[in-house]
């Protein structure tokens, strides 16, 4: 295998593994702020116990997120040196801003969040939770800005020629607010909120099923359910906006997402299907003209197909892109159905009797994860063969000083180490969940405890 394939596999692998954790940190960060906010507002000890429990899980997730994130920052230099030279003027400032404005805030206050319970007052502790959450949100801003610039470059000019060409910034804010930044960022944020909300839903659904920690599990479940419902509905609009942006800015990617080859035809929208990359045929369950309607509000409007682009300028793995995109959309719709149905039952006081539904909630934790990964893969593979859309090809972006053997060595090393990490992470996460929160603050336990302490009541 050559350096290009190995480096692409390595980048895809390391970023996919890393991308399990930051969305969880962001989503769980939001819920921590809500939980601790409820504690401050009501003074109800149950919310303190809930907060303490989720902070422990947050710390575990954050730790792996940081360790795997540092790798990403340096992989641009190690494996993609030509790319780094090409975009350093622009991409670098976003990364530097992320470090100084976001990551420093998050990591600084994390110490107080985890270890500060007996050192600072409740208000400062809540403030720290808020800062950690904001830090993770800002991190997403700069990382998505950097990535969006690769999708829809803006605010720059090209200097130099051939292999010495590089992009130079001309307008910082045009770079930050490039045509796809805002819609992609909101899409990523909400995807992250969903990842966090469904983790909380899953764990608490399991407690309710097992009849454990009920005094804590039910209010946590309710808060997470409301969060999930709002976010999954919002995602419908934000996701649509994102697809709309792709149609304007990256028409070749849009064509790949729906497996649409023929340029003169109207675009169909598929619920599911299969793209034959060789015969350029797409088969499946479809809404004829649906894509045209989505983009132009007209079922008959012709849409640019892949054949409208020179072969060397359009993505090759069309079926994979199509599948990733459709998995993401299908999960998005299921999350809406699940959370809306759950909320409806909750307000009719019937949710906690439906064991089958609670079991679905237990397993639902995987869905936002799969959707986030699939969405990321569709976005990144859809940009190919460009690493910077329309400007720099992925095949030209490599490090010239690095050999295939070196990349193979590091790739195998990452695979072994990350597999080990994943096993340890799941083991420890499971253990923490099994152990559960400490209930001593709950109403039932306080009553139980006073019975035990009171010799008259105990016998």
């Amino acid at each position: 295998m050559d350096v290009e394939i190995l480096s692409r596999v390595q980048f895809a692998f390391t970023i996919a593994f890393h991308y399990i954790y930051p969305p969880l940190s962001i989503g769980l960060g939001l819920l921590l702020v809500i939980f601790e906010g409820m504690y401050l507002k009501t003074g109800d000890k149950r919310y303190e116990q809930i907060t303490r429990f989720w902070i422990k899980i947050f710390a575990l997730i954050f730790g792996i997120g940081v360790a795997t994130g540092i790798i990403m920052e340096f992989e641009f230099g190690t494996n993609w040196a030509t790319y780094s030279k090409y975009v350093g003027d622009i991409f670098g400032s976003a990364l530097a801003a992320e470090g100084i404005f976001a990551f420093a805030l998050e990591s600084g206050f994390l110490g107080i969040l985890i270890f500060g319970w007996n050192r600072v007052g409740p208000k400062v502790h809540f403030f720290s939770a808020l800062m950690v959450f904001l830090g993770s949100m800002f991190s997403a801003v700069w990382i998505v800005v950097a990535n969006s610039w690769q999708q829809t470059p803006a605010g720059f000019r090209i200097v130099g020629e051939g292999m010495n060409a590089r992009a130079e910034i001309t307008d910082f804010w045009a770079m930050v607010f490039n045509p796809s930044s805002v819609e992609r960022l909101t899409h990523v944020w909400i995807g992250a909120f969903l990842a966090g909300a469904f983790l909380v839903l899953s764990v608490n659904a399991w407690y309710i099923l097992k009849n454990k920690h009920l005094a804590l599990a039910k209010p946590s479940f309710k808060i997470a359910l409301i969060t999930a419902t709002i976010c999954s509905l919002l995602q419908l609009f934000v996701g649509h906006k994102s697809a709309d942006g792709v149609s304007k800015n990256q028409p070749a990617k849009l064509a790949a997402l729906e497996g649409h080859y023929d340029s003169l035809a109207t675009g169909d929208m598929y619920l599911m299907g299969y793209v034959n990359n060789k015969t350029q045929e797409t088969k499946g369950i479809r809404i004829p003209g649906g894509l045209s309607f989505l983009i132009y509000g007209d079922f008959n409007a012709p849409i640019k197909g892949l054949n409208a682009f020179p072969e060397e300028d359009r993505p090759r793995q069309v079926n994979a892109i199509f599948q990733f995109y459709h998995i993401m959309v299908a999960i998005g719709v299921s999350l809406i159905a699940l959370s809306v149905f759950g909320t409806w039952l909750y307000y009719r006081n019937k949710l906690f009797d439906k064991r089958w539904l609670l079991w679905i909630f237990v397993w639902s934790v995987l869905l936002p994860q799969i959707a986030n990964q699939a969405g990321w893969f569709a976005a990144e593979m859809g940009r190919q063969p460009w690493v910077v859309y329309g400007l720099l090809r992925t095949s030209d972006a490599l490090s010239k000083a690095v050999t295939a053997n070196q990349v193979l060595f590091s790739l195998i090393m990452f695979m072994v180490v990350y597999l080990l990490l994943l096993i340890l992470f799941l083991y420890l996460l499971n253990k923490k969940i099994q152990h559960g929160p400490v209930d001593y603050g709950s109403k039932e336990d306080i009553e139980e405890g006073s019975k035990r302490d009171n010799p008259l009541l105990a016998h």
């Binding site: 622009i90 400032s93 206050f109 110490g111």
Partner: protein, 344 residues
Amino acid sequence: METFLGLDYNVWWFLVFGAVISGYAILDGFDLGAGALHLLLKKEQSRRIALNAIGPVWDGNEVWLVIGGGALFAGFPIAYAAIFSAFYIPFMVFLMGIIFRAVAIEFRSKEPMPWWRKTWDIVYSAASIIIALSLGLMLGNVAYGIPLNGQKEFAGNWLSFFNPFSIMVAITTLALFMMHGSIYLTMKTEKRLYARLRILSRNFIIFFVLSFVITTLYTLLYIPHLSDFFKANPAAFIIPILMVLSIANIPRQIKKGKYRYAFFSSALTIALLLVMVALEVYPYLLYSTVNPDNSITIHNGASSYKTMKILLTIAVIGTPLVGIYTSFVFWTFKGKVKLDEMSY
């Protein structure tokens, strides 16, 4: 050339980058040093206290590495690209160290079994040592120079990184961090552990001074281009002199029981050491041993002026913010370590 207060932007960003790297070495330096000497503390209780002494801050300390990476990428992308692709293998080893160290700290306390804790203790310590050594090895090679061709690409073999000078720099870096870490731990502990750390810190000071002297002598004798600056500017000798004074101040303050001053002294030593390296290499970021014309300097390896301006704005806004909350966190956890239910 656009200038600000008499210095051009590239020099400013070189200073900022140097300050960030010094910040990283001073801050992560003490927790890496604490990790490197971890196995010398025998009792479970001592190890827990040592871990909790760095517990609330090590993550924040590591942020400086991320900022440093971003600063190099943004300000000097050509140097960033050349350095990390050239140092591919040592850097991958370094990154593995970073991963294993983070998870060792995180995972160690999660299970009570002695074998579990012992395993993560070894991983934590070994990773800290590997990080310090690989950082030193890369610093040594950056200072010494590497073969760069006309396209400013690395044209050598990674085995050549293991030259005597760079190995000595690596050992000196480890010694420096162990000295720094042991002083930090002395400051954060009490009773028998404190007594033990006082002895350890004295040994590490000796270890550092010896390796530093040997490395300096070797440099003067065999690598003349690194001492050119000092030969041309005798006034610059003030820096090594200050450094000697700063090192001598460490045992003095420890003897007086003023650990915070001892810690500031060892932080100052690290800063002065890096200033020395910066003066030796300036204006090169990466010196080419094949042909000095192929070298990457702070001018030919830099971003545009526009970017430099943006970066300086970011640094001017961001640095005080980071300073404020870093101090707040350190202030919150000031004093000797006390274990509680939230500790590692």
